[in-house]
Each structure stands twice: as structure tokens, then as C-alpha cells.
């Protein structure tokens, strides 16, 4: 285990209405076995002891699964390591003397609430508009009554692995939520349970996406590059097919 000294430039913004700016902090003796969020914890303990306000950031599981954490590190959502969330990024990815710029996930549809903490509730509303199978509790058939080829189940699982972190939106030059939305549409399109409502689902979720102010996809592929769960842009192609088919036939 070794330790490094860092200069941190962190976005500080008191609330949605305030103007924000990058503040500089020196942090010494950062153990390289620490996670990025533990590094921020140490900074916050230090700021607290100095009578300053700690940096606000979202986090919960610290295991890469709840999707709550996230920030843009030196221009990359969730930082330099591939397929990890910010909470799983370890300080051994950085070197002694580095300056690290830490900014919130920015996008039109994600207002900054405080420092690194943003409002991603638009993603919930996309799911609410149709990201489900419309069944009630009870009276469902036996789990094995509907055989599903293991390869389909695996593909559906690949898509279902999305943690709703919003890194895809933050890294998209258009602020599109296509990767996120397509992951849910794909999961349900790949499974027979989702078939009955597939047209309506595609139409509603895309309409909601537009209403929330997310941009359009121009194939920049930045989303796939930063996605911590390896969600593939093939899902976007599937969304486009589903949407086109629905629009043409329901039109």
C-alpha cells in the first residue's frame, strides 16, 4: 500500500439557483487502496474539522449496484477505469501529484441540486411511462409454464443490468437518455412477458424521454464508453426498431 498527494478541483454550487465554481483543495496521504468515495470522505472530514462545508455527493451501496453515485472525473463520467462506477474506482488509478477535476453529471434534464448532487428523477418518470409488464400481484401462471431460451434470458439480463446512474446521459453530447431507455425496452422486448405491450411501451417511453428534455441520439457512442454496466448500443438499435415498428403500425 502506498499513498499519494493530490490536488482536487471540485465543483461547488450551493443550490440549483446559485452560480457554481471549481474550488481547489490539497489532499495529502491518500492511500491508493481507498475508493474514490472514501477519498471524498477523508476530504469531507478534513473540511468539517476546518469549519468548512463538506462536498455533497450521492452514494449508497458503495458496491456499484444502486446507481446512486457518479461524477465526472477529468471529463469522464465515473472516471478513467472502464466499466466501474465511481464508488468502485480506486485511488491506485491515480499518481502522486495528480490534479483531479471533479464535476457533477451535467445535462439539461439533470439539474444540479448541490455540489456533485443532481436530480435524476426524469429517469424514474421514463420508467413510469411504460417500463413494466402491466400485471397485478397474484394469479400469475407457474414460473415454468413459459419456457424461455437461456440465450434470450441472458440477453435480457445483459440489458436489465442497467443501474440507472445516468452516466450515459451526462456523457452524451446531446444529453440523450437513449442507452438507459433502450436497456429497459430491450429487456422487455426480448422476453415473451413483455410482448403484449411492446408497441405502447416504446411509444410512451420515447414520448416521455422527449418531454423530459433529453436530446436525440446522433450515434456519438459516448454513452456505451462510460456505462459502468457495459450496456451495449445494440440496445439503441433495438429501441429504434421497436419504436419505428410501433409508430408505423399504430400510427
Amino acid at each position: 500500500m502506498s499513498s499519494i498527494n493530490l490536488t482536487l478541483k471540485i465543483w461547488r454550487q450551493h443550490n440549483s439557483d446559485a452560480l457554481g465554481n471549481l474550488e481547489t483543495y490539497d489532499l495529502d496521504d491518500v492511500h491508493t487502496d481507498m475508493s474514490f468515495l472514501e477519498m471524498l470522505d477523508i476530504l469531507n472530514e478534513k473540511l468539517t474539522k476546518e469549519g468548512k462545508e463538506p462536498v455533497a455527493f450521492d452514494h449508497d451501496c458503495r458496491e456499484g449496484i444502486c446507481g446512486m453515485c457518479g461524477a465526472v472525473i477529468d471529463g469522464i463520467a465515473h472516471g478513467p477505469e472502464k466499466e466501474v462506477t465511481l464508488c468502485q474506482l480506486h485511488m491506485r488509478n491515480f499518481s502522486n501529484g495528480d490534479t483531479i477535476v471533479i464535476e457533477p453529471f451535467r445535462s439539461r434534464a439533470f439539474p444540479v441540486k448541490k455540489d456533485l448532487l443532481v436530480d435524476r428523477s426524469a429517469l424514474d418518470r421514463i420508467i413510469q411511462s411504460g417500463g413494466y409488464v402491466s400485471i397485478n400481484t397474484g394469479g400469475t401462471p407457474d414460473g415454468n409454464s413459459l419456457p424461455i431460451p437461456s440465450s434470450n434470458a441472458e440477453l435480457a439480463m445483459d440489458a436489465a443490468a442497467c443501474i440507472g446512474c445516468g452516466a450515459c446521459v451526462a456523457s452524451c453530447p446531446n444529453g440523450a437518455a437513449m442507452l438507459f431507455t433502450s436497456a429497459k425496452i430491450s429487456q422487455l422486448a426480448l422476453l415473451p412477458q413483455g410482448h403484449a405491450e411492446k408497441k405502447q411501451r416504446a411509444l410512451s417511453m420515447v414520448a416521455q424521454m422527449d418531454e423530459e428534455g433529453f436530446g436525440n441520439c446522433t450515434n456519438a457512442k459516448e454513452c456505451e464508453a462510460v456505462c459502468p454496466k457495459g450496456i451495449s448500443i445494440r440496445n439503441i438499435a433495438r429501441l429504434n426498431r421497436e419504436y419505428l415498428f410501433a409508430a408505423l403500425t399504430e400510427g
Binding site: N15, H31, D33, M34, E38, D41, I42, N44, E45, L47, T48, K49, G51, E53, P54, A56, D58, H59, D60, C61, R62, E63, I65, C66, G67, Q88, H90, R92, K113, K114, R120, S121, D124, I127, Q128, S129, G130, Y132, V133, I135, T137, G138, T140, G143, N144, L146, P147, I148, P149, S150, A153, E154, A156, M157, A161, I163, G164, Q187, L191, Q193
Partner: protein, 642 residues
């Protein structure tokens, strides 16, 4: 405090059916006249909210996170049990019931556990219908694995992300009801108090964590689904926001708290690597199927593991428990690891770890086979520790993982406060003194999808509730009380931070106290010492914790402080509960209660009961009541793993 379990009479297998029949119903047209509050959106809370809303109740749901999808349940890895017997390997509802009650070391209610096993099959059907992508066989049927030492394959899973997929299923059902206008969702709200009118639960008081606003909400029924309290120990595998606050506030208003000292400590976690550490990461128990646990025979052996020859290694689990070896239950594995480290034989930088070695398995089956089974776990381990388990043994150490204790509930999942229900990990109902792997997810969904709606209907149909509007005195008093507490938390802020402590510093101290004295093994002297030290920690908290910022704004230090203040109070009943239970059972060893071979000795004659704590006042000691457990259908047997 009256403890009427309301367990229905009759044969075990008929109890639930009969009960559903004898419970009263609410006519569908009348349901929309009733308001229900659900606190929590984990498996229990999300499934309950969706189900009650589908049935027509007006539901208001609250959670701390920015989205209901992020509840702690999302992190569960291994799987969910059900008695489907799809593998035709002799499983049945009765066997799942028996395994669960035996796993809980005969400290749970037979009727509740039987019902859990009964509804387990419906859970799987429900989740499949929602589109949960469970693992499948090539033929397209659902796949199962055997988990946590079970002799049958009854665990359903979705890769290593079962909790995530089940929660997203429940979240999707909840989202559908939000869209339909049947659930009003309140994110980023932390429940701070429960409001009673005429002795019945009629509302909650919450803090909007974004604005600091204190708000109260009213309803006809309040359901807590707020999860477990493992974070009392500071370090645990729980998510950072997991807390005891909601349950503790209910307790202080009259809800009995059952078995608070029943805590499960998981044997295979990645060890602590520094004092900056914020949480512990669980490594799947399945690793013990192929890994061999050992420590050097001599203490303080500084050689690298590969340089330590066979004759200098102690495979202590294999030696002590020849028939189970590395597969002894969680509590036995955890306790023995701690014992080895306490004797100075621990390994790693801190001496607080043991080896889990795959070298023999790799020699036997080949690296490819082992990587196929554990590749993703090895990767996760390497990511965190920077060490490759193929080349060097893993370091593991036990960590606090799950809390079997919780709010006392009757068969209808109602607490001792009328109209206040508790579901999921925050109640005590089904796991006795030890929870089996893959049974918490089952219980959360059983409570939420299939049990709570019957209880709510029965309660509403049998009580005539007077109308409340949320502006009555009890609501105002509650808001005032919560505001007062927040002011008190901030009282040290005026003079600046000099000479003061941070919230985490005190939380760590509390965590150490609980871990050292109220962890895997417990002893009267040591528990009494902890009870003596606790007031000092409490005083330190209130006298010297400095919280920056104000209460009228997003303030994450203040949020943590509120939770730690409650953990400090709660710790008292944990320790008292441990003191009062002078037997070894489930997850803990009571040093004074051991067999001649130094194994845990249960004392059925004196302790076949649930210990239920009643809050008296802030200055008086809490009072313990007992719910005697009767075993009519199974005969308690002593565990033996020799």
C-alpha cells in the same frame, strides 16, 4: 405491553388459508377511501406499495434515496429460495419450513415460517410474470442452485444480481401505480417520527432532505419497510443510509422491539484495510465450496502464504469439524475466524484476516473450471484489493451482514401499536436467531406481495377510525419534537469545530464497542462493561459532535448525525438483550453457555422465547417481555457439525 401473536389455530398447513378466510375484507369500492403510508421501497416496501395500490387503496410511499429503485435490497447477490421442487430433489413446503426454522435455531414462530414457505412459490411466479430475467436451463426452464449449505437446489437467481432484478421488478410494479396516480411517491424523505392519534398509528413526520423542511403526513395505516440496523456497528455490508431511525422512533412511541441482539455476521467479507474504510464488501458464500480456510500455525508468521509449508498451516475448520469442514454454517465459520485472529494467528496487514485458498481446487479441477465458477468474484476481489486469488489466497474476515431482530409483530405483521405494521428486514418475524442464505429476499416479497394486504384489510374493517386531517395536535407536536431534536443536534455548531468531534468519529467508537462486546461471542462481564461505557459515548455525541451547515438545507452530516444519535440509544437495548439471553443460539455464542467441546449450547428450557423490549422513558431502563415460543409441529434439535 400485551403480546398477542394472533397465530390461528388448526393444523399447520391450514393456518394461513383459514386465517385469510376469517380475516375481514374491505369492499373494493371502499378501498379508495383509505389512505396507507408505506415507508421504504426495498423489496418489502415496493411490493407492498404496488400491491395495495392495485387493490385500490390510496398509497403514499417514502424513501431516503433519490429513487425508489436504489433501496438497499438492490445489493443482494446470491438468490431467493422457493419450495418449487423444480429439480425433483425432494423439496417441499414442509422442508423449506423445516430448514428455515432449524436454521433459525428454533427461535422463530412456527406458523409464520410455515406461511413464508407456503407463499414462496407464488413469489417466483409473480416475478417471472413481471419479466425478471432469472437464470434458465438450455431447455428454457428456470435454473436453481443450492445455497448456504441446503441439501436441495431451491435457490432462484439472476446472475450475481438477484436482489437488483427482484427489486427492479417490484419497482416497475410500483412505477406503474405511480403513473396511474394510485401511489404518490416521496423520494429523499427521511422518516423522523410516527404520529399516534388515540393510540393508533395515523401518520408520520419526515424531513425533506433536500430542503430541510419538516412535514407530516396522515393516513389510516402506516407500514414500515425500513430495513435492518446492521450499520449500528459502523462497518457492515449494508448500504450507507441503512438505519434504525424509523424503527427506533416507532419503538419510542410504543412498538415493542424483538430480539435486538440477534445479528448475523457473514464469514466471507473482504477484510478492513484501513481506518478510512466506509463499508465492507461481501464475497459470496459459495467460495467456501472450493476454497480452503487456513492460518499459519504460529502467530505472527510474516512469510508469504506460498512460503508457508503444509506442516506450518492450520486448516482449522477441516481439523475441528471433519464432517462439514469449510462448509460449516456462517456463525461457526465467523466465530472461528475471529478466534484465530484473537489468538494472534490472523494474517494480512492488520492481522484481522484468514486465508481462503484456491490452490488445491485449481490443482484438482484446473484454473479454467475454477474461473468459470468464481471468475466474476475473483475479479471483484482483485478490483478492491489489487491481489489475484489465483496466485495468492484470498484474505477474508467476518462482517456484520443482517439483523434478525426488529420490531415485534403478530401473525398479521402488526406491531404493538395498532395500525402500525412492519415488513421485511425491519420486523423480527421469520428468521429466529439466524437467517439462512436466500431467505431475506423471500421474506421481503412474501410480506409485501402476499401477506400485508390481507392484514391491512382486516385492520381497517375491524376498526372504526375517526377522521384526521393532519392538522391535529399530535401532528403539530410531532413536528415540533422533530424540529427540537434537529436544533439539539446542531447546538454544538455555534462555536466552530475546534476541539470537537465529527459524527463518524463517534459512530466508529460505538461500532467498535458493539463489535468487541456484542458481536459473535458474548460474555456477561464484557457486556456489562459495554453497558457502562455506552453513556460516555452518548455524552460525547451530544456534547462534542460538530455538524457543519444548517438544518434548513441539504446537509448530509446532519442526516448521518440523526441516525447515529438513534444508534447510540438503540445500542442499549442490543446490549441488554444480549445480557439477558444467557444461552448460545443462532448466530452468537454465549461464552458461559458452551458444551464440553466448546461449541454453542442452546438452553431451550429457559430461553425458548422472543425477548421483546418496551421503552419506558429516556431516563428509565427498558422493560423486557417474553413471547413464549411453542413447538407443536417440529421438535427442537441441537445442531452438531462435528
Amino acid at each position: 405491553m400485551e403480546l398477542n401473536s394472533r397465530v390461528p389455530s388448526g393444523p399447520l398447513a391450514d393456518k394461513w388459508n383459514n386465517h385469510k378466510f376469517s380475516n375481514k375484507l374491505v369492499n373494493p369500492a371502499n378501498r379508495r377511501k383509505y389512505k396507507v403510508i408505506v415507508v421504504g421501497t426495498g423489496l418489502a416496501g415496493a411490493s407492498a406499495s404496488a400491491t395495495l395500490a392495485e387493490q385500490g387503496y390510496e398509497v403514499q410511499t417514502f424513501c431516503i434515496q433519490d429513487s425508489p429503485r436504489r433501496a438497499h435490497s438492490i445489493a443482494a447477490q446470491g438468490g431467493i429460495n422457493a419450495a418449487k421442487n423444480y429439480q425433483n430433489d425432494g423439496d417441499s413446503v414442509h422442508r423449506l419450513f423445516y430448514d428455515t426454522i432449524k436454521g433459525g435455531d428454533f427461535r422463530a414462530r412456527e406458523a409464520n415460517v410455515y406461511r413464508l414457505a407456503e407463499v414462496s412459490n407464488e413469489i417466483i411466479d409473480q416475478c417471472v410474470a413481471q419479466g425478471v430475467p432469472f437464470a434458465r436451463e438450455y431447455g428454457g426452464t428456470l435454473a436453481n442452485r443450492s445455497f448456504g449449505g441446503a441439501q436441495v437446489s431451491r435457490t432462484f437467481y439472476a446472475r450475481g444480481q438477484t436482489g437488483q432484478q427482484l427489486l427492479l421488478g417490484a419497482y416497475s410494479a410500483l412505477s406503474r401505480q405511480i403513473h396511474a396516480g394510485n401511489v404518490k411517491m416521496f423520494n429523499r424523505r427521511e422518516m423522523m417520527d410516527i404520529v399516534l392519534v388515540d393510540g393508533k398509528a395515523r401518520g408520520i413526520t419526515v424531513r425533506d432532505v433536500m430542503t430541510g423542511e419538516i412535514e407530516s403526513y396522515y393516513a389510516d395505516v402506516v407500514i414500515l419497510a425500513t430495513g435492518g440496523y446492521g450499520n449500528a456497528y459502523f462497518l457492515s455490508t449494508n448500504a450507507m443510509a441503512s438505519n434504525v431511525t424509523a424503527a427506533w422512533r416507532a419503538h419510542k412511541k410504543g412498538a415493542g422491539f424483538a430480539n435486538p441482539s440477534f445479528v448475523q455476521i457473514h464469514p466471507t467479507c473482504i477484510p478492513v484495510h484501513g481506518d478510512y474504510q466506509s463499508k465492507l464488501t461481501l464475497m459470496s458464500e459459495s467460495l467456501r465450496n472450493d476454497g480452503r480456510v487456513w492460518v499459519p500455525k504460529k502467530g505472527d508468521d510474516k512469510r508469504r502464504p506460498s512460503e508457508i509449508p503444509e506442516e506450518d498451516r492450520d486448516y482449522y475448520l477441516e481439523n475441528k469439524y471433519p464432517s462439514f469442514g469449510n462448509l460449516v454454517p456462517r456463525d461457526v465459520a465467523s466465530r472461528n475466524a475471529k478466534e484465530q485472529c484473537d489468538e494472534g494467528k490472523g494474517v494480512g496487514n492488520t492481522g484481522l484476516a484468514v486465508y481462503l485458498d484456491f490452490a488445491d481446487a485449481i490443482k484438482r479441477d484446473g484454473e479454467d473450471t475454477i474461473l468459470k465458477k468464481y471468475g466474476n468474484l475473483f475479479q471483484m476481489y482483485e478490483k478492491i484489493t489489487d491481489s489475484n486469488p489465483v496466485e495468492e489466497p484470498m484474505l477474508i474476515y467476518p462482517a456484520v451482514h443482517y439483523t434478525m431482530g426488529g420490531l415485534w409483530v403478530d401473525y398479521d405483521l402488526m406491531t404493538t401499536i395498532p395500525g402500525l405494521f412492519a415488513i421485511g428486514e425491519c420486523n423480527f418475524s421469520d428468521h429466529g436467531a439466524n437467517r439462512l442464505g436466500a431467505s431475506a429476499l423471500m421474506q421481503g416479497l412474501a410480506d409485501g406481495y402476499f401477506i400485508i394486504a390481507t392484514s391491512v384489510a382486516h385492520y381497517l374493517a375491524s376498526n372504526s377510525l375517526e377522521e384526521v386531517l393532519g392538522s391535529e395536535a399530535p401532528f403539530k407536536d410531532s413536528i415540533q419534537e422533530v424540529e427540537g431534536r434537529i436544533d439539539k443536534l446542531l447546538q454544538n455548531s455555534a462555536g466552530g469545530p475546534a476541539g470537537k468531534l465529527t459524527v463518524d468519529e463517534v459512530h466508529k467508537e460505538l461500532g467498535r464497542l458493539l463489535w468487541d462486546h456484542c458481536g459473535m461471542s458474548r460474555e456477561e462481564k464484557s457486556l456489562e462493561k459495554a453497558l457502562e461505557e455506552l453513556p460516555g459515548i452518548k455524552k460525547k455525541f451530544w456534547d462534542s459532535v460538530y455538524i457543519p451547515g444548517s438544518g434548513k438545507d441539504l446537509n448530509q452530516s446532519l442526516e448521518r448525525a440523526g441516525r447515529v444519535a438513534d444508534f447510540v440509544e438503540f445500542a442499549e437495548i442490543m446490549i441488554r438483550d444480549a445480557l439477558a439471553r444467557e444461552e448460545s443460539c443462532g448466530c452468537h455464542l454465549r461464552v458461559e453457555s458452551q458444551t464440553e467441546e466448546h461449541e454453542a449450547k442452546r438452553d431451550d428450557e429457559n430461553y425458548t422465547h422472543v425477548s421483546v423490549w418496551e421503552h419506558i422513558s429516556d431516563v428509565e431502563a427498558p422493560k423486557m417481555h417474553k413471547e413464549e415460543l411453542k413447538f407443536e409441529f417440529v421438535t427442537p434439535s441441537q445442531r452438531s457439525y462435528k
